[in-house]
């Protein structure tokens, strides 16, 4: 069939089972949008307020569904507005496919109107990218992009399509292809008998094993296999920020988050273990702190689908390259059931250790009380965050029940991620009620997307912890800069209730936990966006805290 390039874009997306697109139109993608108009019954396009919102939405959508998130943007400023979101997806291994238009091939390289070299700009922050200048390569490029974004360790791919390719014509025959899914079963990679035997030996020799997992376990849908393995070898589990939601919060094997703001018991037990089995984690500096201390007296068995991660940040005893789900299942079947009586007692005692207690003063309107009140009403719906103290409190206090229900910017720590991501997550979860925890700093970055949430009538509850400060930076200034609060006190006079109303959403304000509970009850009966502003103390701190580069010995508990 003879098709235009714009038609091929839409056809190939449909072939891959795409039904949702986030984006923002413009001159260089107008032909693609014209095709979108013709196929509007098959493809739902969400127009955001800014391309950053669109790419974060595609990212949030991908994290919730496991399917690639698609984002469209025009050339020049449209494309550059995607950059932060693409970097964010890259650092959190999220399968985002960005399709941008560019000026006609004959105008490339002449600093034409709205021309930027977006493939050059995004080269270091994509898994791969393309500029398509020949229509005959278009369909294959898009198919390849899906396979690259979703296979192995997922990641963002950008396809820049010149305008003449969109308007040109060629023969193309769409076919029925299996829909690409980031979580489609992956084969074991590169693990021989010898490695498996060695791994089984390490596990059997360990007296104090500890399982430490990151986002790879969520991406590979390996929760069940992880819990079975932990049971089988009798080991506790600690998770990185990105790993959260992989196991239910209340599971007896789960000790909490590991890292700079991790839970005392989870970190302490890790430091007492003699074998760390690390799954789908890159040992980020925020999670590990002092690497020497981390490695002292223990062996490390690292499992990752990306061989380059094995041994990159931490020297490991043994690395297994493969998909977490498959490798964990294989390890379970290749080791006898194990019991570690003494170690289990140490672990159980630690849970009751006073320093493991995260309770905040119950008499006050604390972040913990706010998060707890949301958690009690939420079931297993999706929770997203922005970046800062509120993000860490959510990761510490929220009791996640189901994988892929915690959407947060881990690797890049992108303030402003929340609004877009929550919108994408809400849409990805079939428009189930979604909560975004944010704060005054982050919210101001991309609050324009409230308009997107309102236009699409999304049941999104934005819980804004207003501490009138860039709280996380302020906390560092308190602890490490003698209270010199350089430019972190936000003297904003924004009236959030009126702001929400101006967007067409509902806005509430809470100054006590009782008020907040009432606001939440109301919010949970509304099927459209609600913002609840909670005034909290600007000196509330995220504790415990291990200073950057420090170890459990440096932990600040009070």
């Amino acid at each position: 069939m003879v098709m235009t390039g714009a038609q091929i874009v839409i056809e190939t997306l449909l072939e891959h089972g795409v039904d949702t697109i986030f984006g923002y139109p413009g001159g260089s993608v107008i032909h693609i949008y014209d095709e979108l108009y013709k196929r509007r019954n098959e493809l739902r396009h969400y127009t955001t307020c800014h391309e950053q919102g669109a790419v974060h939405a595609a990212d949030g959508y991908a994290r919730v569904t496991g399917k690639p998130g698609i984002v469209f943007a025009t050339s020049g400023p449209g494309a550059t507005n995607l950059v932060t979101g693409i970097a964010n997806a890259y650092l959190d291994s999220s399968p985002v496919i960005a399709i941008t238009g560019n000026v006609p091939t004959n105008l490339l390289g002449r600093d034409s109107f709205q021309e930027v070299d977006i493939s050059g700009i995004t080269m270091p922050i994509t898994k791969h990218n393309y500029i398509v200048k020949d229509i005959r390569a278009l369909a294959d490029t898009i198919h390849e992009a899906f396979s690259i974004a979703c296979s192995g360790r997922p990641g963002p791919v950008l396809i820049d399509i010149t305008k003449d390719v969109q308007t040109g014509t060629t023969e193309y025959e769409p076919s029925n292809r299996p829909a690409m899914h980031a979580a489609s079963p992956k084969k074991l990679v590169n693990i021989g008998e010898k490695e498996f035997e060695e791994a089984a030996r390490l596990i059997q020799e360990a007296e104090r094993p500890y399982i430490y997992c990151g986002g790879g376990v969520v991406l590979s849908n390996a929760s069940e296999e992880l819990l079975a393995f932990a049971e089988h070898i009798d080991a506790p589990i600690g998770l990185s920020l990105m790993g959260l939601s992989a196991v239910p919060y209340s599971h007896p094997r789960f000790l909490g988050m590991v890292g700079m703001h991790g839970r005392y018991g989870a970190i302490k037990i890790l430091h007492e273990s003699d074998l760390v089995i690390a799954v789908g984690t890159r040992f980020s500096d925020r999670a590990i702190g002092n690497t020497k201390e981390f490695l002292r007296n223990r062996k490390i068995l690292q499992i990752d689908i990306d061989p380059a991660e094995v041994g990159k940040n931490i020297e490991v005893t043994l690395g297994l390259y493969g998909d977490a789900k498959a490798v964990l299942a294989a390890l379970t079947s290749r080791t006898p059931p194990l019991r570690h009586e003494a170690w289990s007692r140490v672990v159980e005692d630690m849970k009751a250790h006073p320093d493991n207690n995260l309770e905040m003063d119950p008499a006050r309107f604390t972040p913990q009380a706010i998060i707890d009140a949301v958690c009690r009403r939420m079931g297993d719906h999706v929770v997203a965050t922005d970046v800062g103290q509120h993000q860490m409190w959510t990761s510490q206090y929220y009791r996640f029940k189901k994988p892929r229900t915690f959407i947060t910017s881990g690797g890049l720590g992108t303030m402003g991620f929340g609004m877009g991501a929550a919108i994408g997550a809400c849409i990805g979860s079939g428009k189930q009620r979604t909560v975004l925890f944010t704060s005054d700093g982050s919210f101001h970055m991309n609050m324009n997307e409230m308009a997107t949430a309102v236009s699409n009538n999304l049941p999104l509850v934005v819980v804004l912890l207003n501490n009138n400060a860039l709280g996380m930076v302020r906390q560092w200034q308190t602890l490490f800069f003698n209270g010199r609060y350089s430019h972190t006190t936000l003297d904003r006079t924004t009236d959030y209730v009126k702001l929400a109303e101006a967007f067409g959403a509902q806005g509430y304000r809470a100054k006590t936990i009782e008020e907040f509970e009432r606001c939440l009850d109301r919010a949970f009966h509304v099927q459209s966006p609600v913002l609840i502003e909670c005034s909290i103390d600007c000196d509330a701190r995220v504790l415990p805290m291990i200073p950057p580069g420090g170890s459990i010995n440096d932990i600040i508990l009070k």
Partner: protein, 168 residues
């Protein structure tokens, strides 16, 4: 040459932008590049690169693993330096003093270099061989005035059955 020096051979897609992807990877991961050569192979869709770098065992492993992740890199191998032939090409133009030609010609013959250009005031020479041989020749020429020179950087090929083959 550097201690810990290593030679990495690659087969890469032969299209625009591949060189940028590779050099930008080296730059952003703080890998060293001493030299890089590239040329098309018998299969016109593939180019072969030889990168000379240096670093400890950790860096060498990371170089190979990170390169491997690039979609355009079809094959990457840290070459065993005992099993390869390494060659480099250099061209040097030196200023000719009156009556100096015979002495220069002697050296050129001794090093099996070739004259590629001769003018009343200068002589240009090409020499191919192991980088160490080129260094020695250059050292000898240092007593003359070098007008300009260029080196390609080493390129390497495995001996006998030791090959870099396209996996895909």
């Amino acid at each position: 040459m550097q201690r810990n020096q290593c030679i990495v051979s690659l087969l890469v897609s032969n299209h625009a932008g591949v060189l940028t992807r590779i050099s930008s990877l080296f730059a952003r991961r703080s890998f060293n590049i001493e030299s890089l050569t590239v040329g098309v192979t018998q299969d016109p869709s593939l180019s072969r690169m030889t990168i000379v770098s240096w670093g400890d065992e950790y860096l060498r492993a990371q170089i190979v693993k990170q390169l491997h992740k690039l979609v355009d890199v079809k094959k990457v191998q840290l070459m065993d330096q005992d099993k390869i032939v390494v060659r480099e090409l250099m061209m040097v133009k030196i200023k000719l003093e009156d009556g100096g030609l015979p002495e220069v010609m002697q050296a050129i013959n001794a090093y099996r270099a070739n004259v590629v250009d001769l003018s009343p005031s200068s002589i240009a020479v090409e020499i191919a061989g192991e980088p160490t041989k080129l260094n020695a020749f250059l050292h000898f020429l240092s007593k003359y005035e070098i007008v300009e020179m260029c080196r390609t950087g080493p390129t390497a090929l495995g001996r006998g059955s030791y090959c870099l083959e396209n996996e895909s």
